[in-house]
Symmetry: C2
Amino acid sequence: MSNKLRIAAVGLGRWAYIQADSYTKSDKIELVTCFTRNKEKREKFAAKYGCSAEESYEALLAREDVDAVIVTVPNDAHADIIVQAALAGKHVCVEKPISITMEDAKKIDEAITKTGVKFTVLHSARRLGGLRKMKELIDSGAVGQVSTIEVNFSNERGLEIKPGNWRGNPAQAPGGPLTQLGVHQVDNIQYLLGRVKKVFCFGKPMYTEVENATVTQTICELESGQQAYIAANWACPGVFSVNVFGTKANLFYNLDFTWWSNSDVTDKHTTLQIQEFASMGDDPDDRELRTSNVEVPTCNHLMDEMEEFAVAVLEGGDIEIGVKEAAHNVAIVLAAVKSMNEGRIVQVSEIEG
Amino acid sequence: MSNKLRIAAVGLGRWAYIQADSYTKSDKIELVTCFTRNKEKREKFAAKYGCSAEESYEALLAREDVDAVIVTVPNDAHADIIVQAALAGKHVCVEKPISITMEDAKKIDEAITKTGVKFTVLHSARRLGGLRKMKELIDSGAVGQVSTIEVNFSNERGLEIKPGNWRGNPAQAPGGPLTQLGVHQVDNIQYLLGRVKKVFCFGKPMYTEVENATVTQTICELESGQQAYIAANWACPGVFSVNVFGTKANLFYNLDFTWWSNSDVTDKHTTLQIQEFASMGDDPDDRELRTSNVEVPTCNHLMDEMEEFAVAVLEGGDIEIGVKEAAHNVAIVLAAVKSMNEGRIVQVSEIEG
């Protein structure tokens, strides 16, 4: 094996470019070739990044100089593409969510386990500098004992989706913004506080031409007993926030999502504040609060996830987000959608089986 | 009748002083006398404000130079005190919540209707300058069509309540912080967006010695179809925030609650931000967001509610928060508590009957 991870890009939509813009700058990764069914599209991608283009996925997998594939095909095509790659002995990283059904997640799990290839799901949000800092503050005890977390990931997409678009179809994008946006934040909840036990969701289509939900609000109880609120909304200007409430301090994180794709500078467009007691007398009326900015370390969320994967393949390093973590994120989203449709609490175990 | 509203204070705990510090500065109100069962306490209050003190509530109600009473006795004593005042022909203003049962709210309603006295409930939060401004921005269409609202009112009270304190008892403070803090925000939801139809709540005691819930998260569907999230938490440093999400803009309001009782300057310790599109091209990736501060008008939430009441009595002015609005707030809280206990959606109509 080369001293760089030699990868092939599969699925060449908008997000494949954003990923390639990032990982082609890494000295741990070399983009070798690519494939998508449309010839013009794969030649355009190959020309831009100076890599080969294959005429079939089979041809791509047959190349001995390809160590791994990065998969950015539509969510419901992930499983077949991944299983095929694993059986060909290729390591795999795939864009989140791992799948939109638990059956697909299980298929992927079986193929990965059977073949022993390295695998990760690209939930990049938890690699934002602010999220890393929040985790550090929580684990160090600086915020005391955490009771609740509130996350919000929203944008205006639902106002513009036309009937016929897959995003407007409850079967292809279950829960609308909950699948498309909320799953990022669900992973953040799992990262910061652990697994979710049960959920309840109110949601519906609002201010849209499509039948899918565009407005959702979900509350969760975690396995720890801590609680979470997840807002995923397609009917307002962009929001990305994570608030954590602890016995000693509260944390408030905000990201200007218009900078999300420029992952080398995303962290510079974020703020993290800590709110603590400035004075703590016995009389609650005499206490004072202080809110201050916390320095956010500069990470590179898209680069970091790819380099972790490269090191895992090349040197046997650890993988942070495997099938188990990624499938749990999908289960939480599907539990919320089921709750929204049935008007009752849904245990995540009902979905995970 | 005098050209000032002549009032008597009933129930002389901490909050009676905070109210009196405010309304005694009004040129529309004159504090005439006061009553509480403890002689020392009523003499202390009378001395501080230069008013009389009565030996019994009956004696207070018998005074012809008393037009109205301000009631700040414990929540579960509101109804009897109010009914007695109304039957004596006295106008009444009472601290929120109007009651902690629907039976008590009904008793109050009947007495007010029968006697025709003026009545208001002192939900001061909606009179904060920032809330007035938010209502104006929503009603003017500046935020477009609103889909959701998120409110949070929290403090550290639950960490310190001792067993035996009434706040730790689910019968006396149903839902803990939901009754004691959340009801303020429930009124704000009603003020900004209207009545609530159904609720779901997760909550429990956390990090506390008492059996009452200290951590609650509630989601609601409004009669309009809009949705709301209510956080009421007794296990973290103080938070008071109201966020509104609309198709054109989002609003973010924050209050440093340590300034709540100094109502002449409370508004100076608040921030209101509006987040809008700075550029709005056809390509969602090319849009930019702009967040800017909105000037918050300087109001005086405690003074304003009392002066409205005085003008209503003296000149027949309108009352913003009557029995109907205040009872709806209590019904929402009780529905949330029932939902928390029973693990199901509760229709507010189940509580209101």
